[in-house]
Symmetry: C2
Subunit: 284 residues, 2 copies
């Protein structure tokens, strides 16, 4: 496994692999790797011949007061995880490598970034799409892999790739969960022991949603109220949003129909956690 | 010469050329080709082995009330010009090929788009950078060629390429002028005979600026006043702006220093014309 710190070196490594006819898979991450990331790496290894992982805590996607400073950066452990997972190249640029001068150029995706997390994290998706555009241009992969846990991010990036005719495919992999149902996230490690006991209520509320839809409940408000009751079992959980939206347009649905995305964001203490489920009502 | 109407076909043609080790040069245009475009094609042929020209009147860079509808589209003559100039592929996509669905994703370049034409054409540069990002992703050239006549456009696109780590070079070619000094432009054909007689005053005003700087005049206001006097010789000329700015940052300069861009935009009747000169005071 090679570790590339510069744009030039990662480009050269990918170029050499491509010249051998290899298909390039790319997993962009902010490090603090966990089994969710490993599942993305495994998916990349399955579909591609050469796997590049980037580890870069991107400052432009954090808002003021968010956790950019305290975001975990266990580089040594991350590299070990990559090595064991069979990664070919890990790209670990410094901030000055990615942003050598004031960044003036931004990607903005309209509409799809206005709901859900976009309402609570102004500028976040602009930072995400901008750094992904940069990384896609640097790594030039055939396929990039993202997790369903960040559902809105995946939808926004897919739209950017389509609108900009970027020459790669986006593959979205299923959310990986702990035995207790909590979606695996680098931010879970911020939780105290007692907060960890309450956090699985997030997925419980989503399972409730799934069951209600399966039972034929079609009114979003009714479902959201039931979900809220579950989350309110733990007073430490502060609900940011519970939204039932069209899975393509992210527009709020009053009546359950078609492909439905139910997404939840909460704060437990100062830790912000998100999760979601996709239900295709037609395929039920 | 091949004419490609679809993204897929132009990609295949470029891919085949690249697989033969050819260097790809790209000249994006809106058609209505003239000797200015030909100079870009010639520059591309000189530096590259395979030249792609795109002809696409991009709707997203025209504002309401601008000349999108009446913009000239002499496709047959354009193709003949390309053939004679030795172009390898002309990419002539329909609007539905470039924008198959509502475009939600935009490139925005901050600061550099706020001055000069940016003040008078809101959204224009966002349309330009967005379509260039799309075209660069479609054609995947090694070098793209732009004209110095659209000075701000060239600076904005260069910045986009740098900020987004796009894997291509931008080459800016000198403005091509008629014998009377008027910068060649597709929009010149809108001018009536009498307007054509007045239009060379634009370049005359820029030559005056050049001379004043050469004579040691360092006060921008003094220079702009002299330029305005020249343009006011023709009452049909309405000045939109006369700006003296830093050639890198596009910030207004009160005192002439360093690399200076003097840019003029006027309306003659309903025709909007722009022109500029670059003066490097250090190299004078």
């Amino acid at each position: 496994m090679k570790v590339a710190k510069t744009i030039k070196s990662v480009r050269n490594l990918v170029k050499a692999a491509r010249s051998k006819g290899k298909k390039i898979g790319f997993v962009p991450t902010m490090g603090a790797l966990h089994i969710g990331h490993i599942s993305l790496i495994e998916a990349a290894a399955k579909k591609c011949d050469f796997v590049v992982v980037s580890i870069f805590v991107n400052p432009t996607q954090f808002g003021p007061g968010e956790d950019f400073e305290k975001y975990p950066r266990p580089l040594k452990a991350d590299l070990e995880i990559c090595r064991k997972a069979g990664v070919d190249v890990v790209f670990t640029p410094a901030t000055a490598q990615m942003y050598p001068q004031e960044n003036l150029t931004w990607v903005n995706v309209e509409k799809l970034t206005e709901q859900l997390c976009g309402q609570f994290r102004p500028g976040h998706f602009s930072g995400v799409t901008t750094v992904c555009a940069k990384l896609f241009n640097i790594v030039a992969p055939d396929i990039a892999f993202f997790g369903q846990k960040d559902a809105q991010q995946a939808i926004v990036i897919k739209r950017m790739v389509a609108d900009f005719n970027m020459p790669l495919k986006i593959v979205v992999c299923p959310t990986v969960r702990q035995a207790d149902g909590l979606a695996v996230s680098s931010r879970n490690q911020y939780l105290t022991e007692s907060q960890k006991k309450n956090a699985p209520l997030i997925y419980k509320s989503l399972q409730k949603c799934q069951k209600l839809i399966a039972d034929g409940v079609a009114d979003s408000k009714t479902i959201i109220n039931q979900m809220r009751k579950i989350l309110q079992q733990a007073p430490s959980i502060k609900i940011e949003y519970i939204s039932i939206v069209d899975a393509d347009t992210l527009q709020e649905l009053k009546k359950i129909t078609g492909k439905v995305l139910t997404a939840v964001a909460v704060k437990i203490g100062s830790t912000r956690l998100i999760d979601n489920i996709l239900v295709d009502v037609n395929k039920r």
